[in-house]
Amino acid sequence: MLSFVFKRLFSAFLTLLLVSVFIFLLAHLAGDPAIAVAGKESSAEDVERIRVHYGFDRPLVEQYFAWCGRALSGDFGRSYHYQQTVSDMLIARLPITLVLGVSALGFALLISLPLGIFAAIRPDSLIDRISLFIAVVGQAMPTFWFALVMIVFFGVTLRWLPISGNASWQNFIMPTIALGYFATPTLMRLTRAGMIDALESDYIRTARAKGLSQGSILFKHALRNVMIPIVSVSAVQFGSMLSGSIVIEQIFALQGIGWLGYDATVRFDLPVVQAITLVIAVFYVFLTLAADLLNAILDPRIRIG
């Protein structure tokens, strides 16, 4: 088990390394950072002074390691445009995006799991058709359009929900639904397919032959086997949600890191963009690691082997 954890940690670390190099290179392709900081109208001397002050004149490799070193201690530098440190901005915004992401994933699971299980128990039934319909529609629906339509319908026509800002929990309802709806088709199909496979498997036949109750067969024996891929996919979906939050936060004016990322990219605020990209990547890597560990707990074949 321990070696399994170490191996996964090591590959997580390597992935993050690759990601950070990529982000760093991309940011530095974006033109002269000294000019970005100084502003386009600055004099050549000002630009040069800024270049030296920020260390932009050092070799790229050295800058990279300096950046990494600072990042590891939580220092992402200062925003070019706002008078704050990037870490302060992140700390202020991150919770909102995390809340959004967690509730979106929760929403998706809340719909997909019961529907998927039910559809598997009664294939070809009405529930099955409804769930497939939801899956097909969800996969083709453009997120942002869905969000806009919801705004018109719930926010304006019915006036049930607030349409922008993050004042209260009600502000999160529509964004959660918009973001969560997209993980639903995948998770639901996965649950359904996994459950159908499980219910047709030999070990479930054995469980029935032992006279176990329907509840025990479904929720003790079948479900645990089905959960294994669901855990992995959920982690990946959460990463997707963090990434897709840009669009949703922009539409609903939720001040999370997605919104911040959009704003920073438009303004060419390098440190912020780098930091947010890195943070999202870190989340993804550690979430998938956590999912793998959870799977090792669920599935003894992984941890004992």
């Binding site: 070990y203 032959a209 032992k210 006279g211 024996h221 003894p300 074949r301 004992i304």
Partner: protein
Amino acid sequence: MTRMLEVEQLNVRFSLANGVLHAVRDVSFHVESNEILGIVGESGCGKSMTALAIMDLLSRRAKRQVSSLKFCEQEIAHLSFRKMSKLRGDRMAMIFQEPMTSLNPVYSIGDQLEEVYLRHRGGARAEARRRAVSLLDKVGIPAPEQRLRQYPHQLSGGLRQRVMIAMALMCEPDLIIADEPTTALDVTIQAQVLALLKQLQREFGMAVILITHDLGVVARMADRVLVMYAGEIVESGPTHEIFDNPCHPYTQGLLRCLPRTLDSKEIGVRLGTIPGVVPSLIGETRGCAFANRCPHAFDACEQATIQNAVSEAGHNYRCVLSVDQSLMHFRETVE
């Protein structure tokens, strides 16, 4: 001796895209308590389906139809899932063919053993555990306490099958159905597991239905034999009778396929085969299903339903030939 199980007119049908498949056709038989009944036949003859049908474990796509299914004199054909599940694992149990996939990979051996007992007898987990240990010991698994904590993938095929047997015995059932329990195992392990099964049957006094395609297994283990072909029982009777005086041409064909032993005078005789293939079971079958491969078939064989003929008390066979005719054909080819 009471009849543990009585099956009358069992039919199992599957709805396929191109018709209805009759996997089991009008099968009727009984099992006494304290006997081993062997059901022998080739792959696809319907023997596994029969077993699953008795336990009501058929897949969703299969339809079971039976005029009477009596277990311990009680009709169980129309029991609900809940009532049937109380019988399964408790009074009747089943052992399956594939030990590699028949156990749930994510739960420990102990958990899977104990849950049968807890489900049907209730009580404390400690007692279930004690019973699990004692049964693991009885089926010949060394270090049973350690095994409880292990997972299926850590055990070999032979050990897993022993675990399956122990699992079937947890509640001391009256009837055990073993569906090809040794087919997936190595030959040496096969012999051990079969010997174990026989010993346990004698000790616990259960009824056992042993399903196999191997005549050798049947000869060693069974008190009575049913020979199945194309979804029907073509011959049934005490084991020695079937082997000494097989009346149905199919049974005779099967016996002829067995290689002769070294001290027999038939060395050098060509190994028998049964020409032709099993007919499709989609749609209704008229007459004898074996007719297209039978060396003695004539027109009447394909017309009407063949009745059961009796050779001796307890020995039935489904053929129009008389006992003497049939046995004469058999001895001709053997000598």
